[in-house]
């Protein structure tokens, strides 16, 4: 699971009102080398919940100087874009789980794919 994906996910356990962002508990993390595509990164940044991204990167111990707030004029800041690229696309949780911040319910991540299926009474 990449952090770009994590940034989009929310807990849908019944009754939960604040299911975002999910906490990450990783047991296996991989860092891959991914071709840097600045145009793609630039396009994704406006869609991100920035604080959730920073928090997630922190939880994985891969924050590495990612600023707490979005810098102005980031389109031209290649250094910044590369950091975002790394955190969004190169860091990958292979095994672990996502935890609903409100209910504590854990969703396993296995072989890089989070399992967000709920049981019948949870949905």
């Amino acid at each position: 699971m990449k952090l770009l994906t994590h940034n989009m996910l929310t807990s849908h356990v019944k009754g939960v009102t604040k299911g975002y962002p999910l906490l990450i508990k990783a047991t296996e993390v991989k860092v891959n080398e991914v071709e840097f595509n600045p145009k793609f990164v630039c396009r994704m940044i406006p869609k991100l919940e920035w604080s959730a991204l920073v928090q997630a990167a922190d939880q994985l111990g891969h924050r590495e100087e990612l600023p707490g707030e979005l810098v102005a004029d980031y389109e031209k800041n290649e250094d910044f874009l590369k950091r975002v690229h790394r955190v969004l696309l190169e860091v990958e949780v292979i095994e672990g789980c996502l935890q609903c911040p409100e209910s504590g319910r854990e969703f396993p991540i296995s072989r890089g794919i989070p399992n967000m299926l709920l049981s019948e009474d949870e949905a």
Partner: protein, 528 residues
């Protein structure tokens, strides 16, 4: 730019004339695609086929996504009309004159063009491989094909180009009139003729040619003859014929093939070879036209080199993605992604968007994972195990939802499609932002059910004027009269309220999926 003589300008302007076969319902997508990607001209659409001219590079023509197969046009003409009680001899003579005539030039020039295109295709594939192999390390997954295939591919295309160069040279020696354009003779003079194929095929070194777009024709050991020979008699061919309509009652495909075979041998000295020919000549005879062409690729364009496990037919998947009009920066979700075909086609087309595939089945997700890696799209296409009925996504967070809904009555061990459809649709609606697009493919039966929940006729949900007017900025072409919808909505304001949906129907298109048909529906979210 120097001013070129008239014959050269003419070729540059009109380019090459092609035709593609297309599945039923896909013609409109293909027409739009050739216009947009290839600046195609003289576009002519007939059921199941689109003819067009383009001067775009051949590798870009081979990148067409809505097409089944690609052909170099040999001849397009009015239908062959044969009176019912024509004798076999008369029939043969009629076919001979209508299909072959006695113009060698057309055939030779087509063969030369075909050969040139094969060379260009081979060299562009080698160039792509060369740059791709340099990047293999980054994603950790190379395409891993053997390099001797590439060697064979280049030798093969070099040999082919030489064959036709030799053919061209010998024709040049005869005085020929207008059919052979002077420019070709110029380009392939005796001295240059031998060198030119080298230049065309020389790009790249040791990289493989992708299997399904590899050049057609014989394997390297087929002809085994070098540029030493001079006669045109060493081109081998096979006829592939389809007859439909009233003509098929008068004459069989075998008769047509025989006439063509004998005729071509006599006219050009080419040899018929059913097993392993240089050229395949396709003949389509219907009540409306006769069409002759040479396939440019061994496998259909619809067989994608970048998809490992197929699901939905790639042409349909691509069409659905194109209907969604995915812009840079979009976030696109497929809530029942299966092996990921739609997302992969979409991601290949729009490189600055991200894609999320959701499925409930481990097997499907595993295949999707492999497909995504195989297509080298891991950075932009991601997967999630979840239920389409409870999407773990915030409301109004997605720009487009594209989905091929299972056609069967049961779509998982527990769920029944008809019962679950309303919930699935409401989740799709919920996660879409205002202005977001929904594109779904359903069976005709399920489409009836869809219409009950997401109205498609102008007897639609009650809505106030302001909301209806916010339906602006919707592109034309495939839109079904929004003005009509607005007028109807205004007039129906006095009627009783219906279940309000914020999804406004845009269009429904019927496509063939082989044995069955499917319906693609497009909606836009206009209210939250």
């Amino acid at each position: 730019m120097s001013s070129a003589p008239e014959t050269e300008m003419k070729e540059a302007d009109s380019g090459v004339r092609y035709y593609c076969t297309a599945g039923n319902g896909m013609e409109r997508f293909l027409v739009e695609e050739v216009k947009r990607k290839l600046a195609a001209e003289d576009i002519h659409q007939i059921p199941g086929k689109v003819l067009f001219s383009s001067s775009a590079a051949i590798h870009r023509v081979c990148d067409l996504k809505a097409a089944e197969r690609l052909f170099l046009l040999l001849k397009q003409d009015s239908p062959v009309r044969m009176p019912t009680h024509t004798s076999p001899a008369k029939a043969a003579s009629l076919l001979q004159s209508r299909l072959l005539g006695d113009s060698r030039g057309r055939w030779i020039s087509a063969a030369v063009t075909w050969s040139r295109l094969q060379g260009e295709l081979a060299s562009s594939r080698n160039a792509v491989r060369a740059s791709a192999t340099q990047r293999v390390g980054e994603n950790g997954r190379g395409s891993g094909k053997q390099s001797d295939e590439g060697e064979e591919g280049r030798q093969e295309s070099r040999k082919r180009a030489q064959e036709f160069t030799a053919a061209e040279e010998s024709v040049d020696k005869r005085p020929r009139g207008g059919e052979q354009s002077g420019r070709r003779a110029e380009g392939l003079q005796a001295e240059d003729g031998v060198r030119e194929p080298e230049a065309v095929c020389g790009a790249g070194s040791g990289e493989e040619v992708e299997q399904n777009v590899e050049s057609c024709g014989k394997s390297a050991d087929g002809l085994g003859k070098d540029a030493g020979w001079e006669s045109v008699g060493n081109v081998s061919f096979r006829i592939s014929c389809k007859c439909s309509g009233s003509l098929s009652r008068c004459v069989s495909t075998q008769e047509v093939s025989k006439v063509m075979g004998v005729g071509l041998s006599r006219l050009l000295g080419w040899k018929a070879d059913v097993r392993n020919p240089n050229l395949e000549i396709n003949v389509y005879l219907s009540d409306d036209y006769c069409l002759l062409g040479i396939p440019l690729t061994r496998l259909p364009l619809a067989n994608r080199s970048y998809i490992k496990t197929t699901g939905l037919r790639s042409t349909i998947a691509w069409a659905m993605a194109s209907l969604a009009q995915i812009q840079p920066g979009f976030c696109v979700v497929d809530p029942m992604c299966g092996v990921g075909t739609i997302l992969i086609e979409a991601a290949k087309e729009q490189q600055a968007a991200c894609f999320l595939g959701v499925d409930i089945d481990d097997g499907q997700l595993q295949n999707a994972d492999e497909n995504i890696a195989f297509a080298k799209l891991q950075s932009r296409v991601h997967l999630l195990k979840a239920s389409s009925m409870v999407l773990p996504l915030p409301s109004a967070s997605v720009d487009a939802v594209v989905c091929d809904l299972p056609f069967g009555r049961k779509f998982s061990t527990r769920e029944n499609m008809a019962e679950s459809l309303p919930v699935i649709l409401s989740e799709m609606e919920r996660v879409l932002r205002v202005g977001g697009t929904l594109v779904v493919l359903l069976s005709p039966q399920l489409s009836c059910l869809l219409k009950k929940h997401l109205p498609q006729t102008h007897a639609g949900p009650k809505r106030n004027e302001a909301a209806a007017e916010s339906q602006t900025g919707i592109e034309s072409g495939l839109v079904s009269s929004p003005e009509q919808q607005i007028t109807q909505m205004q007039s129906s304001s006095s009627q009783e309220t219906v279940t309000v949906s914020s999804l406004a129907h845009q269009t429904t298109l019927r496509v063939s999926l082989g044995a069955i048909d499917g319906l693609i529906h497009r909606y836009v979210k206009i209210l939250d």
